[in-house]
Every structure is written in structure tokens, then in C-alpha cells.
Amino acid sequence: MKHFTYERASDRTDAITQVAANPQAKFIAGGTNFMDMWKEGVETPERLIDIRKFPGEITVTDGTLRLDATTTNSQVAYHSQVRDRYPVLSEAILAGASPQLRNMATTGGNLMQRNRCSYFHDVSYPCNKRVPNSGCPAIEGINRMHAIFGTSDRCIAAHPSDMCVALAALGAVVQTRKPDGETRNIAFKDFHLLPGDTPHIETALEHGELIEAVEIPPLPWAKRSHYLKVRDRHSYAYALVSAAVALEIEGDKIVNARVAMGGVGTKPWRSPEAENALIGAKNNEESFIAAASAALEGAKPYQYNVFKIELAQSTLVQALLTVNSEQ
């Protein structure tokens, strides 16, 4: 293997300083995503700065839920505040990976996890994400798992996270600290970037910028929320499509709605189109079907993923029917 150095950072400042000092340095948290790519030669770090042992706490201030970046996926999913107030988040996390992986994986790592495109993971292929301007074999290759929204002629890889779909729906905020000490609050929709001409740049983070926490605003009606994932097997598989939904219903009217989808976008895909279609509509199947078609409007499928349009629609309808029937 290629030589590298590894250090466990003493605190956040130390971690940031160390990574910032070396362009080939990386944070490592649970390692569940990073190690896979490292073994495949997709990632070739010179230096690894381990942040996993940083305290990972879940706190609530004025109704805002704050997840330290190093909270584990399991810890968040089973936290009583998360389960009660944001079921969609708990369900999304539990729909991902496996218990062993979730025990290791962290909130920050989940936001930063890279995609599952087979060409990206095999260094014998060109890939614009791995080697800028080398080409994208997926566009005319096996693209069954790929995105139908937010693609470019440079990259069509789908964002793989489940947790992030729920966070997108909930309008989370990512708190970071840059090497110069400045802290930022990045709206979730601005955190992940579309591939455009630079698919190798995936998030708004600078090199050495550390995710410190994710905050979820109080959203009392998100009690009525749900995550539904369709996959090729019943656990331990990435989403073909998924839907994160929350509804506020008064009488027979929807007064507030959140909709985001997984498996369809090059980033976690919030759908204001579906939300607009729902708000003010009746809480019945007809409205849900209308919202689902609004959500999929403008989707651009590729040879092997045309099915995602219909499957995403029906999944979204099912998710909405499920939250609607709750209470």
C-alpha cells in the first residue's frame, strides 16, 4: 500500500490545522466510507487525521436539535428526541447500511460520503469525479443506479445517502469551521453541489474545513413524517429511490409539507415542486399523485434508469399515504 501517516487529533482546532497543512490530508471519522475507497485506490491520502473520538453529543436548545458531527448514525437514529420529533430522520438512518456500519458511521461522514458509481470505484476506468476531464463512462454505460436530476454531461452519479434526504427535507443547517477559524452555517440545500463542470467538487467545504455539527430547526409538525426506501434487497442496499416526507394537516387540508427524494438526484433532492403542489391541497391520494408527478417533472433518465421516474412517483405516493394515515 502507499505510505501514509495517521494521527488522532487532540481537538477540533488541532484536526483542522493538521488537515489544512497538507493538501493530501483527510479527516477520518468512522472510516466506513473512506476505507472502502482507500482500499480500491480511489482515495490515496498522505495523512489521516482521526476525529472519531471527539465528543459526540446530541443537544436541544430552544427547540433546535444539534447533532455533533461525530455522533454515530446509530446514536442519532435511536435518540428519543429524534424518534419523537423527527421520525423521518430516524427511519432514514435505519434504512441505510447495516447495524455494524451505523455503529461506526458518523453524522459528518454521512454528509461527506461519496457516491456508488461502479466506474468511480474502479480506477481502471476514466471518471471525471476521480480524474477531472478524463470522461464519464456511466453516461453511456451501466447507469441503473444513477441520477435523473441534477446531472450534467460530466457526471450523473446519484448521491447515496439516506440520512441526507431526511436532513434536506427538514431544512437542516451544517455548522462548519474553516482553517482560518471562521465558522459558517451552511443551509443544507447549499451544502452539496451539483456536478456541473466540476464533478470532483462535491460540497461547499474548503480543504481543512471541519463539519462541527448539524442543526435541525424546530419543526413541530415533523412529528408526522416518514421515510420510505425502495431497494434491491430488504436491508444493506442503497436506494433505488426513496422519499422523505412530512405533512401538516388541518381538517382535510395540507397546510405544510416537506418532500425530498433519494436515489434520484446528484445531491439529496428536495422538491419544492411537490411541496407547493401539496400545500393547500386536500390530503387525499389524488393530491399525492399530483404532487408526485410535480416532483418528477423535468427528470432526465438514462438508458438503464428510466424506471426511476415511475418508481419514485409511486414511492412518494406511498410515503405520503403512510404519513397521512398516521396520528
Binding site: G41, H121, G141, H234, F307, K308, S314
Partner: protein, 767 residues
């Protein structure tokens, strides 16, 4: 657990442990990590190999630049076609065409025939150094257009002709179709699939002068020994192959691949032992796969539901460097009675690796298509699918007209159907629901040939009271260690703890490949006969010995029980095995049964076994020998989500005598799970431009996980098949995989009204 038999009155002690729920005798070794697998032998001075693979599917290697890699610290040698030793052809009379595995010799020229072909090996002090060095080797190819589209290959590529054996036909197929009141003609496709055992293949090779020892994760130590010897031009006696534990094989370790030869030549080159362990990624191109099939099935039945015509045409593929192909039609010619039959196989050569048997080669893919088609015909004829199968039951082998050695398929249908509750099925598709979920019930027949291969075994009765029995067979996690220990213990009337069974070493008495679900049926009679023969030697010694209480008795008057030989009529006259040996000052007595030995010649002992046991070797020309079974499956599908959940599986199996309930059941569970995987998720994809395998890890190659598998109920209708062997046991394994995919597919139809004829049935296919 039954321990030592004390009752000398019980003359049927072959039943004492055999058939019981005995725990695996190697279980503790495995869970404590003490079991030593092929990549774990701690040899002194071991060096590590790493395979270099082609990254094109077809072409010529123009140049390999190893200069950078050679400079790395720790690198000991790099072998490519430029500097590898010449190897000898692997072909022989025994393995002409059709030999599963590759005839292909590595590193002999610069031609690339498939993606991931082994084109070199790096040897270094550590695994990591070898791997890094391999990544620094630069290869220039002159790429050619690979042939990998099956349809196109059948039109344009070379074909492999499997000979008449795979193209049987009888009767008048067109006439049969004309007579039919209902017909169907549909095409069923199965994808490329990989075995993916937990243990990736590994070889450790060590030379002592001109003698080679190879620790190899193989299902066939004797075959591997033969191939290595032939490839290297060594006499077989100079090669020893050891395979004590195999972490699953499912076919991909059954035949020969290039990595053992590479390890052997690398070890000779560096003059040190070399360990070569394939990575998970390399398992997708180094040791075979189940090839793609396109199966067109035409069926006709008359008004009563009797089949009038069966036509089964299979298009499939093999590689340019081997000949194995999937014989899908083999089961079609024997499963149902039909006067008019036409089986055809067309096999194209493609630039893929060589296919190899995988979990029921032919039987699994073939029963999927046939049993799905039969369901379609039954529905069209308006007859219950189980009833339809009973109507067409083959009372004799349809092709040879031989009687079956032992066939209880109808009982399997009935017992599984009862346990499942099949009589409550509403046949209308989509008619059964629970909440939003559609419920579907489907069934299919299972079958697998009863194989028995020539096998030798040796038994040693030691003066310390222990017994060591051995045969060069294998335990792939299937339970061979355990059931052979049970059989030996029962034959000699000893507790399990006093018996040790040794396997997986080519120095031991010869056994054949542990494939085709043959091991239990092949090895157990040899083990029993060897134990009897060793005991008989003791009896002869006692008779001849005037210090023995048995002196001057006739052998026929003497029997054995609980570690004693004694007079049948007066059990108090006798002595222990140890007493005889100690008096003669012998450390042990041993006997070896060779594959030619016809059964047990030791009537004095055999006489006390169960009445009815046929004392010959079975596997006769008179009978057709097959295992049978019936699968019943329930699926649940949310129609918006389209994800199929298999919620219930009941199977009944006619597999002869059960040697160990626990290991037998585990075999059925494993086989059933494979079939569910095949039906719903397993598939290896090729890149449509380069023809290269693009899925090579267990996150993307989906095999079922816990959440996909329901509670399974397994029923054994236990009828010993003494025509196959004196123990009446047929092998258990692949039988459970055959048919289950069709049962799932038929249940999906019943739930949704949709016929998906292209496996796997992932959610997108149900839209």
C-alpha cells in the same frame, strides 16, 4: 446426544448417531478461529503474491513495464508472459472438451481473452508491497473488439459444440403441439452470476526440493493435484494438495483455475513459500461464474392437462479458453412424462471468463425456466399448478424408461402443500391481500441427480482406543467432518469423541470432487466399509490368538458393539479392540477400502445392520437415481413499492436417508437462500462498451441477507435409497436451489398478475 451404546442386545447401532442432530465436530475450531484455512498456514519465510489482471476483455499485450514496480522495497519477483516458465498442457484424456474450469495456462503468451485474465504475479515480502507493486505495473494493450453480447455472439462468434448428449429429442414435437388443447411459448433469461463464497480462493505453495505442497481452497484435492502436476510436468506423487477447511465454494472451487499454478511457479522462482490470496474483487474474474442463459420453452397439454410436447432451447455461452456451459435442458428430459421432447443447447464463445458449475449447474437455471413455464401452462389450462405436476408425474425416467431407484415426489407435494396450507389458495392473481400488500403463493418442483463417485477410505483402530478414519474428501462447511465421524462411530459402536475423521489431503485415500452434492453419498459407504474391514482384521487376529476368548470361533459368529468384539449369541464372551492390539503389541490395526472394492465383504459385521440394507455399491445401470422435492413460497408485495418480500417457504424433500438432521437442514436452508437470491437480486453486470465486469464487491453484488429470508420449514420424507449406496443416503445441497427461483416467480405472478421472465426480479421489473 446418544453416547456410548451399552446394550449389547441392540444390534442396529448404525442408527445410534447417524441421523441425529449431532453438532458439528469442527464447530469449535471454526468459532475460535483455530481452523486453518488455505491462506492461513503459518509457513516459515513466507512471501506474498498478488495477481496482475488484464483491464481489457480482448486484445494483445504489447508491452509490460515492470521497472518501477521492481524497484520497490520488498519486491522479490514479477512474473509475466515475458519471463514465466513454460507450462504443459492441462488437457488429458480425462478432461477433454467440456471439462469445467479452464484449460487455459497462465502467462504463456500475450493474448487477452477476457477481462481480469491473470497476466502476471508479483511476489514480495508483504502482501501490501506486492499489491502496491502490482498497481505500478504499466501495461500497453492493442485492444480488440470484444465479443460479449450473447445474441450477437450466437450469430457471429465461434460456437462450442457440446455433442449429442445435450441435444436429445424423441417423439414428434410438432405433432404433440398440434394435439395440444393449450400451448405456451415463452423465453426466460438468467443473468451472469458469481458464487461469492465467504472465503475468497487462496493458495499457499511450498517446495521441498522437487516436491511441492499446496494448501489450496479447493473442493477437489485430487483434481488440483493432477492439474498442477500436469501443468508443471511433475509426477503426481511429487505434489501434495491440502484443503482442510473450505469457506464455501458453491462450485467456484470445484475445478481448476490458474492461481494454484501461479503460486507454484512463483514459489519456485523466489525459492520460498508463497501465499496467494485472491481479493473479493478478483473473485469476479478468477474462478468462474454461472453464464447467462436465454431459454425458450414451448409446452403443450391436452384437455386433461397431460403434457403433449416439451421443447426447451437454451442459448448460452462459454469462454474462448474453456468449455463449460450451462446444460439447462438436462432436467427437462427427466422431470415430467411427455411423449414428445426436444432439447437443444446452442453455446457461443464470448470474451468472458470461463463459466463453471454454480449451485446446480443446469438444474438451477433449467428448473427456473421449466417450472415457470409450467406454471403459465397450468394457469392457461385452468388447473392447479400442483395438480398439474401430479398429472404429469414421471413414473419412470422419461428418456431411459428405467425405474427410479426411489421416488416419492407426490408425497413431497402433498406434505409440503399441507404444511403450507395450499388448499386455501385462491387461484386468481391479485386476489389475496393483507392491508396494502398483495400476497402470492407459488410452488415448483425440485430435482437433482443422485450422484455417487468412486471413493476410498482408511480406518485405523488405535491401541489407545481411538479411531482415525480418513479420505481425501472435503468439508465446504457442509458437515462432512461431522457425518463421517457419526458413521464411523456407529459402525464401530463408539462415542463420537473417540473418532477422528481426516480429510482434505491428497495423501489420503482417493476421493472425488465435492461437487454435484455427491460427497455424503460417495464417502459414507467407503467410511463404513473401511471401519468394518479394520474391525474384521481385529476379529481375525482374535480368532487366531489362543489367548483370546474368541479363539477358534468362526468370524460369522462374532459381531462388534461399543468398542468390543464378542460372540453374538453370548455377548459376555469377547474383548475390547484395545485388548487385542495390546496383546499383539500393535499400535494400531488399519484397513483401506479402495474405490474398486465392492461394498462390504465383512458379512459378520454387516449382518447386524438394519435388515434390508443391500450389500452392493449401488448406483446401478438398472435404476435412474434422482432426488426430488417441492417448494411452496409466499411473497408479499406492496404494489407501490414493488419490493418483493418472501414471507414463507415450505419445502419437502425426498433425498434418501438423512445422516444428520442438523447439517441436512442447513444444506436445505442454504440452497433455498441461494434460490431466493437468484430470483430476486443476484446479477453481475458487464459494461456495455468494454464487456468488462463492473460489479465486484458484496455491496453491489447482492446476495440475500437476514431481512430477505423468512422462517423456513423443511420436511424430509425419509426413504433410504439403497440402490445408490448401502447407507441409503443421497447428497443434499443443490436440490434445494433447483426450482425455488421458479416458486418465487410463480408466487409473484399470483400476487400481481405479472409474468416477469427475466431474472432477477428487482423492483423496477414489476412496474
Amino acid at each position: 446426544m446418544v453416547t456410548e451404546m451399552t446394550s449389547t442386545q441392540d444390534r442396529t447401532n448404525i442408527q445410534a448417531k447417524t441421523g441425529k442432530n449431532i453438532d458439528r465436530v469442527d464447530g469449535r475450531l471454526k468459532v475460535t478461529g483455530e481452523a486453518c484455512y488455505s491462506a492461513e498456514f503459518p509457513l516459515e519465510g513466507i512471501a506474498h503474491g498478488y495477481i496482475i489482471q488484464s483491464t481489457i476483455a480482448k486484445g494483445t499485450i504489447e508491452a509490460i513495464d515492470t521497472s518501477q514496480a521492481e524497484q520497490l522495497p520488498g519486491v522479490l519477483a514479477i512474473l509475466t508472459h515475458q519471463n514465466a516458465p513454460k507450462l504443459n498442457s492441462l488437457k488429458s484424456k480425462n478432461f477433454g472438451g467440456g471439462y469445467p474450469g479452464e484449460n487455459f495456462l497462465p502467462l504463456q503468451d500475450n493474448q487477452v481473452h477476457f477481462d481480469g485474465q491473470h497476466i502476471g504475479i508479483v511476489v514480495a515480502e508483504t502482501y501490501e508491497q506486492a499489491r502496491l507493486a502490482a498497481s505500478l505495473i504499466e501495461i500497453n494493450y492493442d485492444e480488440a473488439e470484444p465479443m460479449f453480447d450473447l445474441e450477437q455472439a450466437l450469430e457471429q462468434s465461434e460456437r462450442y459444440d457440446p455433442g449429442e448428449r445435450l441435444q436429445p429429442s424423441w417423439g414428434d414435437i410438432e405433432g404433440g403441439l398440434q394435439q395440444a388443447a393449450v400451448t405456451i411459448e415463452e423465453t426466460y433469461t438468467t443473468p451472469l452470476e458469481h458464487h461469492n463464497p465467504m472465503e475468497t480462493s487462496a493458495t499457499t505453495a511450498e517446495w521441498h526440493d522437487d516436491e511441492l505442497t499446496v494448501y489450496d481452497s479447493t473442493q477437489w484435492v485430487m483434481g488440483t493435484r493432477g492439474m498442477i502436476a500436469r501443468g508443471l510436468g511433475l509426477p503426481e506423487e511429487k505434489v501434495r494438495v491440502i484443503s482442510h477447511f473450505v469457506g464455501g465454494g458453491f462450485g467456484c472451487k470445484g475445478f481448476f483455475w490458474t492461481h494454484p499454478l501461479l503460486a507454484a511457479i512463483a514459489a519456485r522462482k523466489v525459492n520460498r513459500p508463497v501465499r496467494l490470496m485472491l481479493t473479493r474483487q478478483q473473485m469476479f474474474s478468477s474462478c468462474g461464474h454461472r453464464p447467462r442463459t436465454v431459454q425458450k420453452i414451448t409446452l403443450g397439454a391436452d384437455n386433461e392437462g397431460k403434457l403433449t410436447a416439451i421443447r426447451h432451447h437454451t442459448d448460452t455461452e462459454t469462454s474462448f479458453v474453456g468449455d463449460h456451459a450451462e446444460p439447462c435442458g438436462n432436467i427437462t428430459k427427466m422431470l415430467y412424462a411427455c411423449p414428445n421432447m426436444e432439447i437443444k443447447h446452442q453455446i457461443a464463445r464470448t470474451n468472458t471468463g470461463t463459466p463453471t458449475p454454480m449451485r446446480g449447474p443446469g438444474e438451477t437455471s433449467g428448473t427456473y425456466a421449466l417450472e415457470a413455464a409450467l406454471d403459465e401452462l397450468a394457469v392457461k389450462a385452468g388447473i392447479d399448478p400442483m395438480e398439474f405436476r401430479i398429472i404429469n408425474h414421471a413414473d419412470r425416467h422419461p428418456q431411459s424408461d428405467k425405474p427410479w431407484s426411489s421416488k416419492h415426489l407426490i408425497e413431497c407435494y402433498q406434505r409440503a402443500a399441507d404444511a403450507f396450507g395450499w388448499q386455501n389458495r385462491d387461484p386468481r392473481p391479485g386476489s389475496m391481500r393483507e392491508g396494502d400488500d398483495l400476497i402470492g403463493w407459488g410452488m415448483a418442483t425440485a430435482t437433482y441427480p443422485g450422484y455417487r463417485f468412486p471413493t476410498a477410505a482408511k480406518a485405523q483402530i488405535l491401541a489407545n482406543g481411538k479411531v482415525i478414519v480418513s479420505s481425501a474428501t472435503h468439508d465446504l462447511g457442509t458437515g462432512t467432518y461431522t457425518i463421517m465421524t457419526q458413521i464411523a462411530a456407529d459402525t464401530l459402536g463408539l462415542p463420537i469423541e473417540r473418532v477422528k475423521f481426516e480429510l482434505g489431503d491428497s495423501k489420503l485415500p482417493i476421493a472425488s470432487v465435492s461437487g454435484g452434492s455427491s460427497t455424503a453419498a460417495s464417502v459414507s459407504p467407503a467410511v463404513r466399509s473401511a471401519c468394518e474391514a479394520a474391525c474384521f482384521k481385529l476379529i481375525e487376529m482374535a480368532i487366531a490368538d489362543n489367548e483370546s476368548p474368541l479363539h477358534d470361533y468362526q468370524a460369522e459368529e462374532i459381531t462388534t458393539e461399543a468398542g468390543r468384539i464378542f460372540v453374538k449369541e453370548s455377548p459376555e464372551i469377547g474383548e475390547t479392540y484395545e485388548a487385542v492390539l495390546q496383546r499383539h503389541n500393535l499400535p494400531l490395526v488399519e484397513a483401506e477400502i479402495s474405490p474398486q472394492d465392492k461394498g462390504s465383504r465383512y458379512k459378520s459385521i454387516a449382518a447386524r445392520t438394519k435388515p434390508g440394507i443391500v450389500e452392493d455399491e449401488g448406483g446401478s445401470d438398472e435404476f435412474a437415481i434422482h432426488s426430488f422435492g417441492a417448494h411452496f413460497v409466499e411473497v408479499r408485495i406492496n404494489p407501490r413499492r414493488n419490493q418483493v418480500k418472501v414471507s414463507r417457504v415450505v419445502g419437502a424433500f425426498d433425498v434418501g436417508r438423512i445422516l444428520n438432521q442438523k447439517t441436512a437442514r442447513s444444506q436445505i436452508y442454504g440452497g433455498t437462500i441461494f434460490g431466493i437470491g437468484m430470483a430476486l437480486m443476484e446479477e453481475t453486470l458487464l459494461d456495455p462498451h468494454s464487456g468488462r465486469v463492473i460489479i465486484h464487491n458484496l455491496a453491489d453484488y447482492h446476495v440475500p441477507i437476514q431481512a430477505d429470508i423468512p422462517e423456513m420449514e423443511t420436511i424430509f420424507v425419509e426413504y433410504p435409497d439403497y440402490h445408490l449406496n448401502p447407507l441409503g443416503a443421497r447428497g443434499i445441497g443443490e436440490i434445494a436451489t433447483a426450482g425455488i427461483a421458479a416458486a418465487v416467480v410463480n408466487a409473484i405472478y399470483h400476487a400481481t398478475g405479472k409474468r416477469v421472465r427475466d431474472l432477477p426480479i428487482t423492483p423496477d421489473k414489476l412496474l
